[in-house]
């Protein structure tokens, strides 16, 4: 488990000066650690994330291209998936030449966690190797949708088969199998990401052992000294009060509850019975889960309601991608690991 507890409700209380030159790994096994450390480039060396095809890949290129010019300063973490459906075995939904690019990014780079999911369909040329890392001929890639992460639940569905389950608040469920051309390491990245999205990230909280050079709050409130330690300080009067922030969070929560209530009404004929059924199957995949009423999982939505990364347009500086932050937290360290994540 993570050694630090996420502090979604209170993190804005602290003025942060974050120096992302060292942090503490949180991986469970040496192998996993070895894999994750590859995400962050070392000065002067090519970015290993690029080599693995999870950074600056085809989806990123598409989104950052002049055609879309979306989230230009944000890192995109992405992989190539095959959309599958449940049967006795997992069955491919599309032709082998059609795959799905799934990526996460942030609407603004300063957010501590990603808040956007990107999905694109990819059409590979006949007989072309679908290696995500620098294919010889670029396949056709079509951006299909942008989903705010707060309306999406991402889960590891089948570790052995490397399948993720993506469920939207509207009960659309995608089962995405990591493409066989991706090494195992890449699926570990996704496992890690799922964990982080669910539990937070120690670097986004108040872990005093993490030195942070960039500021996650408006410049006015940064320590001029640039001290590499976290500074706890009361916000000036001009900052929104905690109660105000809580009020905003509460309103967001109410809005979301309303959506869920609306959806619940739409799903009414099928919902009540299955809600009862699923009460007892929490955390387990069941064959009928495609029909799970959305009201069942209010708790997972609630757990996402209070983070700064929820905000689509936060004020303040945007010095470092939160995905970079994510990567930074996995950087090779001088100090030993302090905890296990998985």
């Amino acid at each position: 488990m993570l050694s630090s507890v996420p502090h979604r409700k209170t993190w804005w209380k602290w003025k942060k000066t974050v120096k992302v030159t060292r942090s503490y790994p949180t991986f469970s096994s040496p192998n996993a650690w070895k894999a994750f450390r590859g995400l962050l480039p070392v000065d002067g060396e090519p970015n290993p994330g690029v080599g693995l095809g999870v950074v600056e890949g085809l989806l990123c290129q598409k989104v950052h291209s002049p055609e879309f010019n979306l989230f230009p300063d944000s890192v995109v973490f992405e992989s190539n998936f095959v959309q599958v459906k449940r049967g006795r075995n997992w069955l491919d939904i599309h032709k082998a030449s059609d795959t799905t690019a799934l990526g996460v990014t942030s609407s603004v780079p300063c957010l501590p966690l990603p808040n956007i999911i990107l999905m694109a369909s990819v059409k590979w040329h006949q007989g072309q190797s679908q290696t995500w890392n620098r294919p010889s001929t670029a396949p056709s890639i079509f951006l299909k949708r942008i989903l705010p992460l707060k309306f999406v639940e991402l889960q590891v569905c089948d570790r052995l088969q490397r399948i993720l389950r993506l469920r939207t608040i509207t009960e659309k469920i995608y089962y995405l199998k990591l493409h066989s051309d991706h090494p195992e390491t890449v699926f570990h990245f996704w496992i890690q990401l799922v964990e982080i999205l669910q539990k937070g990230l120690s670097i986004t909280t108040k872990d005093p052992r993490i030195l942070v050079t960039h500021c996650l709050v408006p410049t006015d409130y940064c320590s001029p000294s640039g001290d590499a330690k976290l500074v706890q300080k009361k916000l000036p009067a001009s900052q929104p009060s905690e109660s105000l922030i809580q009020l905003v969070a509460k309103e967001e929560s109410e809005v979301l509850s309303q959506i869920l209530a609306d959806l619940h009404q739409q799903h009414q004929p099928r919902s009540s019975k299955k809600a009862e059924t699923n009460k007892h199957s929490s955390g387990k995949e069941t064959p009928c889960e495609d029909s799970i009423p959305c009201t069942r999982d209010l708790h997972w939505r609630d757990s996402f309601m209070n983070g700064e990364w929820e905000r689509e347009n936060p004020s303040g500086p945007q010095p470092l991608s939160l995905l970079s932050t994510l990567a930074a937290s996995t950087r090779p360290q001088l100090a030993p690991p302090i905890g296990n994540l998985i």
Binding site: L143, I146, P148, F151, I259
Partner: protein, 212 residues
């Protein structure tokens, strides 16, 4: 495929008015009676030809539900055209047009071409909003107007293409600065070089048909 211009469109309007169905009809020429509620943005694209030029329409289908609106309105920026859709069988969707219009104008550029669409024209027996009302609203706010049916495909092509024609005309008239991407227009690779030489001559000039 190469194109001379790319126009960014947004489709906006209340939930359930048929925005996604219009997009699907336009891009895939099919109608899907039951559609998942859109969250965030869904994308579609299609090539059309105007004045002998290939134009790519990049269409952003936004969520109509009020609760998603704060998110989707951030994507209005940089649209050259907007399809503002209401449902002729639901008076409330027509009543909300002013709010949508204010939102669109506030979050996108002032030159954006807006096509007002009264959708579901096939459901004449359930009509709650007269065509004349739609026309009057459009006239009052300087919009183009059409009634469409995503189900029968009636006027769907025309709605998208007429909007593009209006944008194209504005380019010809120099209203749109095509070198400013905030206007939702991008020049295709093969036209970039040509347009660079014409860019300086654009301001207010009545450009000839073939030059851009």
């Amino acid at each position: 495929m190469a194109y001379a211009y790319l126009f960014k469109y947004i489709i906006i309007g209340d939930t359930g008015v048929g925005k996604s169905c219009l997009l699907l009809q336009f891009t895939d020429k099919r109608f899907q009676p039951v559609h998942d509620l859109t969250i965030g943005v869904e994308f579609g694209a299609r090539m059309i030809t105007i004045d002998g030029k290939q134009i790519k329409l990049q269409i952003w289908d936004t969520a109509g539900q009020e609760s998603f609106r704060s998110i989707t309105r951030s994507y209005y920026r940089g649209a050259a055209g907007a399809l503002l859709v209401y449902d002729i069988t639901r008076r409330d969707t027509f009543n909300h047009l002013t709010t949508w219009l204010e939102d669109a104008r506030q979050h996108s550029n002032s030159n954006m071409v807006i096509m007002l669409i009264g959708n579901k024209s096939d459901l004449e027996s359930r009509r709650e909003v007269k065509k004349e009302e739609g026309e009057a609203f459009a006239r009052e706010h300087g919009l183009i107007f059409m009634e469409t049916s995503a189900k029968t495909a009636s006027n769907v092509e025309e709605a998208f293409i007429n909007t593009a024609k209006e944008i194209y005309e504005k380019i010809q008239e120099g209203v749109f600065d095509i070198n400013n991407e905030a206007n939702g227009i991008k020049i295709g690779p093969q036209h970039a070089a040509t347009n660079a030489t014409h860019a300086g001559n654009q301001g207010g000039q009545q450009a000839g048909g073939g030059c851009c």
